[in-house]
């Protein structure tokens, strides 16, 4: 597996570190940092309000980024793209600006047990404030969700259905289309958390049946602090603002205000324009490489990781046996070794992995796991790294005092 990509990533350049925590955040190529630098060095100024050339140019670059994102996920209108800080903020925006106004006592909110905490806690809040009932679609031990479970949980009276597209722990893809189709049949609004899918596979809001869709820029090589909320225009037009302040108004009087049109109504305060420009550059970079290449490399690497973990005594991985259904993620445990200790030992070998509950405690409880270690790859990782990782893994029990 030749690696033509590392030259684009200064942080990976000297091969000292093996970065296998891509599900947490990805690395940034020069093309992205350069786009951010150009924004700052050539045209930095406050977008949207300026009457001089720099601000006009800053506005243009910011709005071009919005257009790029809309095209990337198949949104019909640029106004359907709201820039936020990250997926978490996007989900909270939906909770505060849509759910609190549209749900009442007895309505059902249905989510899956695989969700990330960011797609659980806002709905717990909405449930407590409105009296709506929060219910979970359960999964089997490999993360699979049955048709029967979808039909059993998404029943008339369900007003909101939220699911992630790809699990950040097991890496499996959820049956999003089945879930959103069933949701629409009973008249519910759908939220798709695409944080873990957008970096790895083509995402189209219409094909997914997403009324709302969220993702974070930093997982697909954009800077931290820029995220996206996609919302159908028909929903956005009837939603109240999330944050109030500058840039989101048409006019303000002492005791009232008229909101700005979309999308500015949901982007209060000075925006992260450089971040949005970085996100657009990241999308360009990713589409240049192509999702076919991304998938091919990730499947090959995950296949090596899963085979490797199988070969390590006392180790087991979680999720599907098929490397194609792992989203670049291998969650695992080594018997007798707490994941934090595994991560600490691997750190001394300059290997970066995640350990803990990965912000998915309900899923860990459901699977009967206290915590897991997680190696997650991206297209810029390669076979030699996977091999070094497995070699290090074989030594972990020894370092923790076991004789075998």
């Amino acid at each position: 597996m030749t690696n033509l990509f590392k030259k684009d990533f200064p942080i990976l350049g000297d091969d000292r570190y093996i970065y296998f925590d891509n599900a947490a955040t990805s690395q940034r190529p020069r093309q992205v940092t350069e786009a951010v630098r150009r924004f700052n060095d050539e045209t930095n100024s406050n977008p949207l309000r300026g009457l001089y050339q720099w601000s006009v140019e800053a506005t243009d670059r910011y709005e071009a980024a919005r257009h790029r994102v809309a095209g990337f996920i198949g949104a019909k209108h640029d106004e359907e793209i709201i820039f936020t800080r990250n997926s978490t903020e996007s989900l909270n925006l939906i909770a505060y600006s849509w759910a609190l106004d549209n749900l009442t006592e007895g309505d059902r909110i249905v989510i899956t047990v695989l969700e990330h905490h960011s797609d659980i806690l806002p709905w717990q809040m909405v449930s407590k404030k409105t009296g709506a009932v929060l219910d979970y679609i359960e999964c089997d031990e490999k993360g699979g969700i049955s048709d029967g479970e979808i039909e059993k949980k998404i029943v008339p009276g369900t007003k909101l259905v939220c699911c992630m597209e790809v699990s950040n722990v097991l890496g499996c893809r959820l049956p999003v289309e089945k879930i959103t189709s069933r949701a629409h049949n009973v008249g519910a609004v759908t939220v798709v958390d695409a944080a873990q899918s957008v970096p790895h596979r083509p995402v189209n809001v219409r094909a997914l049946g997403a009324d709302f869709l969220v993702f974070s820029g930093h997982k697909l090589m954009a800077p931290m602090g820029i995220g996206v909320l996609y919302a159908k225009l028909s929903l956005l037009e009837n939603m109240t603002p999330f944050l109030r302040g500058g840039e989101m108004i048409e006019s303000v009087t002492r005791y009232g205000a008229v909101w700005a049109p979309l999308p500015q109504r949901f982007e209060a305060g000075t925006v992260n324009a450089a971040g949005a420009v970085g996100l657009a550059a990241a999308i360009d970079y990713l589409e240049d490489i192509g999702f076919d290449t991304v998938r091919e490399r990730e499947e090959k690497l995950v296949s090596l990781l899963l085979d490797g973990i199988r070969s390590v005594p006392h180790a087991e991985f979680y999720g599907s046996d098929d490397p194609k259904d792992h989203g670049g993620i291998a969650a695992f445990n080594i018997k007798g070794c707490h994941p934090h200790d595994v991560a600490s030992i691997l750190d001394t070998e300059n290997i970066c992995i995640r350990a803990g509950h990965h912000c998915a405690q309900p899923l860990h409880d459901h699977l009967g796991l206290q915590s897991t270690a997680r190696a997650s790859v991206y297209f810029y990782n390669d076979e030699s790294e996977a091999e070094r990782f497995i070699e290090a893994l074989k030594k972990v029990r020894g370092w923790l005092g076991y004789g075998d």
């Binding site: 707490h338 934090h340 200790d341 030992i345 750190d347 803990g356 509950h357 206290q370 915590s371 370092w399």
Partner: protein, 142 residues
């Protein structure tokens, strides 16, 4: 010390062969602690007599080797001492992790002193202090 040396020289022994792990009959005080960053849980059970002396102590729960070993060493140290003394030692341990304890104070921690270098490993500090902070809550008000 590097983390591998900390494991080899001190942590592994207490983690694999703990002296105080298990359920206690008739504890007088029980306290649970949790490490929010990883969800590790620890429950301390103390039997404290009328004179305020910790006659025996045990712990249960799941956690990484560092948190388990740190707790085991802590109980080695405080059993037979008063709750006031345990509180004072916990204070020294917390300051050791912040790099603020004097060499004389470190000696009082006996084996637990070996965790001094955890102070330079921010990712593992919470593991090392979990048992100590739980004990501080347990003896608080005694």
């Amino acid at each position: 010390m590097e983390i591998k040396d900390i494991y080899r020289e001190i942590v592994n022994e207490h983690n694999l062969h703990p002296s105080h792990r298990g359920e206690m009959e008739n504890p007088t005080k029980v306290m649970a602690g949790v490490n929010p960053s990883c969800g590790d849980k620890l429950t301390l059970q103390f039997r404290i007599n009328d004179d305020g002396i910790i006659e025996d102590a045990m712990y249960t729960g799941s956690g990484c080797a560092v948190s388990q070993a740190s707790c085991d060493m802590m109980l080695d140290l405080v059993i037979g001492k008063t709750t006031g003394e345990a509180e004072r030692l916990a204070n020294i341990f917390t300051r050791m992790i912040k790099g603020e304890a004097s060499p004389e104070e470190l000696e009082e921690l006996e084996e637990s002193e070996a965790l001094e270098d955890i102070a330079h490993m921010p990712a593992r500090v919470k593991c090392a202090v979990l048992g100590w902070h739980t004990m501080e809550k347990l003896v608080d008000g005694d």
